[in-house]
């Protein structure tokens, strides 16, 4: 150690010693400053790498709260395909219409995903997902099994909750994909790095309400058309706006083309979405008429 060797220039412990002293001084100052009581844990939320006494990671939970401000997404698994739907939030009329979607992305021919949360964070993760999927394809010359891809990105997300001191990604994903091992699959992942396979799920604002509605109405082995109708209905319920139009929702369907036996990712056009909305409206009116008739009796 410098002291032992008697070198005067490093007698205070050098750079490490200086940093340690600075940190101690800052912590002493923080302890002295009167902290306002916040609703969530105040002393354990400034760093991602510490648990609270109750065993919570506050930064991860705050990231989940950030996602509540974004547009909702719904995913439904059908017998022969997967449907993912997203709410397009128009923050300003002055914004130029986007050339590519802000919510639905293609990762590879066999994987698509929907995003809810901070767009900038999402872009980084989408880049990563695409890189991983295509690197796998380069090495093995076949599409990457879906769960392996998701595990890779979730391992990355988990890293930000354990070390490095950087905040987690404020994005949740819905992944729709197909592989030859398990067929069509739907997955969800969130900032904690946890992921799960789902038959039907929702992310973003009002996802609890959406999930309970999905639980009630989802039928196993439903067709793609039924899945589309269900996702329209649920997305409608979770959106803030009163009148749903094709301008504020978008749908992507992943299915296998029967003749060519190839996977097709189809982003529905405005006309197709309008047709769906019309159908939904008609069904709702029929339902209302039936209820009124029953009540009249």
């Amino acid at each position: 150690w410098p002291e032992a060797r008697g070198r005067p220039s490093c007698s205070d412990g050098g750079a490490w010693g200086r940093r340690r002293r600075e940190r101690e001084a800052q912590e002493a100052q923080e302890a002295r400053r009167p902290r306002a009581r916040t609703t969530m844990g105040s002393r354990y939320d400034s760093r991602t790498t510490v648990f609270s006494p109750e065993g919570r990671l506050f930064q991860v939970e705050y990231a989940l709260l950030a996602i509540e401000q974004a547009g909702a997404c719904v995913g439904v698994l059908a017998k022969d395909g997967v449907v993912i739907a997203a709410e397009k939030k128009t923050t300003s009329k002055l914004l130029a219409p986007p050339k590519t979607s802000e919510k639905l992305y293609m990762i590879d021919d066999h994987v698509a995903c929907a995003v809810a949360g901070l767009t900038s964070d999402a872009n980084v993760l989408i880049s990563y997902l695409r890189r991983v999927a295509h690197n796998y394809k380069l090495q093995y010359q076949e599409p990457q099994p879906l769960e392996q891809l998701i595990q890779r990105v979730c391992d990355l997300k988990q890293g930000y909750t354990q070390f490095g001191g950087q905040r987690p990604f404020g994005v949740s994903f819905l992944y729709a994909g197909w592989d030859r091992h398990y067929g069509f699959q739907l997955y969800q992942s969130n900032p904690s790095g946890n992921y799960g396979g789902w038959k039907a799920t929702a992310i973003g604002p009002n996802n609890q309400a959406a999930s309970s509605l999905l639980k009630k109405e989802y039928k196993d082995e439903c067709s793609i058309e039924e899945a589309l109708k269900l996702s329209v209905k649920v997305l409608n319920k979770t959106m803030d706006s009163v009148t749903p139009t094709p301008d504020n929702m978008e749908f992507s369907v992943l299915r296998m083309n029967e003749e060519t036996k190839k996977l097709v990712q189809h982003k529905m056009s405005n006309e197709e979405v309008q047709a769906l909305l019309d159908e939904l409206k008609q069904e709702e009116e029929e339902e209302k008429a039936r209820e009124e008739a029953k009540a009249a009796k």
Partner: protein, 236 residues
Amino acid sequence: REQQRRRNAGEAGCHTDGTDQAAGRRDSQQGAPAATMDVVIGLTGKDYVMVVADMTAARSIFTLKHDEEKIMMIDDRKVLACGGEQSSRVNFSEYIKRNFALNELRTGLELSTHASAHFIRNELAKAIRSRGGAHQANSLLGGVDEDGPSMYHLDYLGSLEKVNFGAQGYASYFSLSLMDRHWKKNMTMEEGKELLKLCISQLDTRFIINNPNFRLVAVTAEGKVLDEVLDGHAST
């Protein structure tokens, strides 16, 4: 050392580099690409793949052993038969086998033969521009998966071809024409074995290297079903 490195930097990869740290891969070769004296022959049949390899390990004028294993089961349903410099061959096959085992543990899934062939090709291709040089191992990969039986011919530089039947090294000069003549689609296990025995007897007749033993391995969708030692001198 630096001067020698700079001198060698401009030369083609086959020259020996006396100061090479990983001399094992390049030194013994003296420009010869992956020793060609190992006999490795294989074919695909109706629902199986079958490979045969010699069992001789030699050094200069001596035969060291007659029971060397040159065929490795890298997976329950995949077999890799390698020819080449013994150290590289063993090292490479074991490296591939361990990678497949790790992959299966990590993913819970068995790789398809097509994907495994490309993985192996990638490893071979990565090695040629690496510090130690190419893996001195020419291989024949055979496997049975959902798409049926398939065989891939890989050389030490990373060339990959899907084949119905194949051979590595000098053995190819003696057996490919025989298999061109006699191989047909959907051969039974017995027919396949007879064809490989024919190739072996041709080697016994005309090939200068004496191989008293050959190992024959056949793999179906259930796994390895045949593993026997054939007599190299039983001319039909």
